[in-house]
Amino acid sequence: MQNNINKSVSANDKDILLKMVDIEKTFPGVKALDHAQLTVKKGTVHALMGENGAGKSTLMKCLFGVYSKDNGHIYVEGSEVNYKNSKEALENGVAMVHQELNQALKRNVMDNMWLGRFPTVSKYLPFTSEKKMYDETMKIFNDLEINVDPKTVMSTMSVSQRQMVEIAKAVSYNSKIIVFDEPTSSLTEEEVEHLFRIINMLRDRGCGIIYISHKMEEILRISDEVTIMRDGKWIATKPASELTMDEIIKLMVGRELTNRYPEKDNKIGDVLLKVENLSGEYTNLNNVSFQAKRGEILGVAGLDGSGRTELLEQIFGITTKKSGKITLNGKEVKNHNPHESIKNGFALLTEERRATGIFGILNIRENTTISSLKKYQTGPFLNKKKMKETTDEYIKSLRVKTPNQETKISSLSGGNQQKVILARWLLTDPTVLLLDEPTRGIDVGAKYEIYQLILELAKKGKTVIMVSSEMAELLGVCDKILVMSGGRLSGEVDAKTTNQEEIMTLAAKYV
């Protein structure tokens, strides 16, 4: 099969911008890439797909010289290359727009654009030329229909604008190959449209675009070809027009996923949590009221910046409250700060697992028990034996895949990290669980297990409020869905009877 591919590739060599063949990379104990390959043609958008850990980013890191590959060859426009770092790749027309933007936020747009290669007034006058920087930046911005003043300080701009600057930077290097890594994860619909316009423009100019994303609708819309990877191996490369969402999932997972969501059998009881006219002092959260019942899974939908996360953080007391009332079980709770909220029976699984969820250098036991150390106190000392027992119980009941509880949490996969953090909150015995994007960055298999856990919690009579950007997930898991828009609650829908269109319309209500 491999020979076949190579033959067909060599048939129209001229059109091929990038060819990566037989790339191998081994990390201690793991074969991250096993004869991986990727061929990108001129003037196409090539989607790179796979579950987390399938080797997509490792493959890209080998291209940019962040990792040195053990074996294999990389050809750009027919000649073999071996970039030592991303700077060298950039100078040779291979650029990457990172998911996490790496920018000097306190400097302005053009300082960021020309960082590392500031133009000087002339060869004999080695002072940096603001005028050249400004003019060149404007030229590229006009070209890409980016409406940003090059003198704006980066930190005052929105994430999408900053991303546009990053794209413009890639273009300014005359890049032939541009890699987009999850570019739409923080963009609104409208901004996604602009991004797609730019991508199409670049494609029409003959650039090769590598597009990494988990969002299948986008992939099917924007890409010409799709390469799917699994376990570090190349699985398939097909024209996007010949693929369906189910097929992609099947190729990614390696088996047919008949049930993406577990059977719902939770019983809904009486009202447990009442939120009335909640507004934030420094956030856009504006006059939100809703009720949640015992054993109910309540979804929160909305675009990024619509106040979903702000709602959870407000309930949990992370942000300063302007006005409003939270009632739990008929009694008003103040929830001034997380410490108080935990005491009142609330738990919050935060959105940014790496930044605000895990304690990376601590082990599983320490990460599990950190929020309930009081339970394990004997006098002033902690009872390690009891902590060990509890941790083992949770590892078993939540099916955490780990050699033992002494393992550092950072060495687990995303899904298993999330389970450990769930265990941490379950240990505090909460009545209301606030989950912010509980399945973000987790692969399809692990997602199913998280759904099961959520359902089990609901069955135990707990109330789960869950924020998610994946609408299908909300429809599949929740009972009721709150839709946020512009900091306000724009609607409340029944998950059984609603559809994506209705939710999208509500989400755009106050934009």
Partner: protein, 363 residues
């Protein structure tokens, strides 16, 4: 969305604030006013202090007093200009004061007048000023090189690195002062070519002489402005201070940038030492003690923030000036020297807290 950002850039800070204020509701208005007061608290406090002192002691605003403040500002400016670079990199340099002490002592010892009884090097002929200046700049730069190397190469926090070098430099000064017949005494009896080059009259205003080192300070400020704003090195420094990783992936030589910021700072301490040697005219191991405190305080007051990546030369000049106004004013009020330390400490603490408040995301 992009249109608004362009509008924003065209507005000046004040008109933008007024616009925001008009649009805000009652609660937000209160917050905006508190923010405005807090963000400018340092200037407000100092303005009140100046008015208060001027009323109590009118001589505070006399020509001689103002010239004195300007001269002191000029003397303390170069060290602040040097240390500011380290702060832009989110670092600091607490070896600065001791480094000024070392270079001041070296400069003074090499430029004592022939025939002076306690001359450190009795057989040394009068050296050309230029050579001594280069020598002390080199000494400062070497200290900076050591600081920068450990910071850039081993990723040590500048606080730890300069805490160590500060001790090393102090020990060196003490040993240096034991050389020859000096036996640890203060260095005085300077050659007139040296003292007149530094403290000689530039011109006089209302019968009060302005010393020459004011001019040197102005030149240094201009040079540093060009370095910060018009060179690749300057722009790279700000980029590294704002986001080191972004600078690295954009191909900036982060190691060299950090190293050079510290070397440049060291060179500035050398120049400060050269000026201080003649200005004080009796250098001892205690020369330069705590200079870094004043310099750091001045930077923070002037908006060179410890969060890194921000700061302006004009801010540093204003910061040093304001600090000297306060100190001079407190002298006029005959506040004791002991009390002065406490006030300095409070100023640094308050200035840093107010500065940090600007960058804290409120939630």
């Amino acid at each position: 969305m992009a249109d608004t950002s362009i509008k924003k850039a065209k507005h000046s800070g004040i008109s933008l604030w007024i616009e925001k204020f008009k649009a805000a509701d009652k609660g937000d208005k209160k917050r905006l006013i508190t923010d405005l007061l807090f963000n400018n608290a340092m200037y407000i406090i100092i303005a009140i202090a100046v008015i208060f002192i001027a009323i109590k002691v009118p001589a505070f605003l006399s020509v001689s007093s103002i010239v004195n403040i300007i001269s002191l500002t000029a003397a303390k400016l170069p060290i602040a200009l040097g240390i500011a670079g380290c702060i832009v990199l989110t670092g600091t340099d607490i070896s600065a004061g001791r480094c000024v002490g070392l270079t001041a002592c070296v400069a003074a010892s090499l430029l004592q007048m022939t025939g002076y009884a306690n001359k450190m090097f009795p057989n040394l002929k009068t050296m050309p000023l230029f050579v001594v200046l280069l020598a002390v700049i080199a000494i400062g730069a070497v200290v900076g090189l050591v600081n920068g190397f450990f910071v850039a190469k081993f990723k040590l926090h500048p606080f730890i690195v300069t805490l160590s070098t500060q001790l090393i430099v102090f020990g060196t000064v003490l040993m240096y002062l034991m050389i020859g017949g000096n036996n640890g005494q203060t260095l005085s009896g300077l050659d007139s070519s040296y003292t007149s080059f530094i403290t000689g009259t530039l011109f006089t205003i209302g019968g009060v002489a302005i010393p020459k080192y004011v001019l040197y300070s102005v030149i240094l400020t201009a040079v540093m402005w060009v370095v910060w704003n018009k060179t690749k090195f300057g722009k790279n420094m700000f980029a590294v201070g704002s986001n080191e990783e972004a600078a690295r992936v954009s191909g900036v030589n982060v190691f060299m940038t950090i190293l050079m910021v510290f070397v440049l700072a060291g060179a500035m301490y050398g120049i400060t030492g050269f000026i201080e040697g003649a200005r004080i005219a009796s250098c001892s191991a205690n020369t330069g003690l705590n200079y870094e405190c004043d310099a750091i305080a001045a930077c923070v007051i002037g908006g060179v923030s410890f969060v890194g990546g921000t700061g302006k030369i004009s801010g540093i000049v204003i910061g040093v000036l304001l600090l000297q106004i306060i100190f001079a004013g407190l002298n006029f009020l005959s506040v004791s020297a002991n009390m002065l330390y406490i006030i300095k400490g409070v100023i640094i603490l308050v200035a840093c807290a107010i500065d940090m408040r600007k960058y804290l995301a409120r939630r």
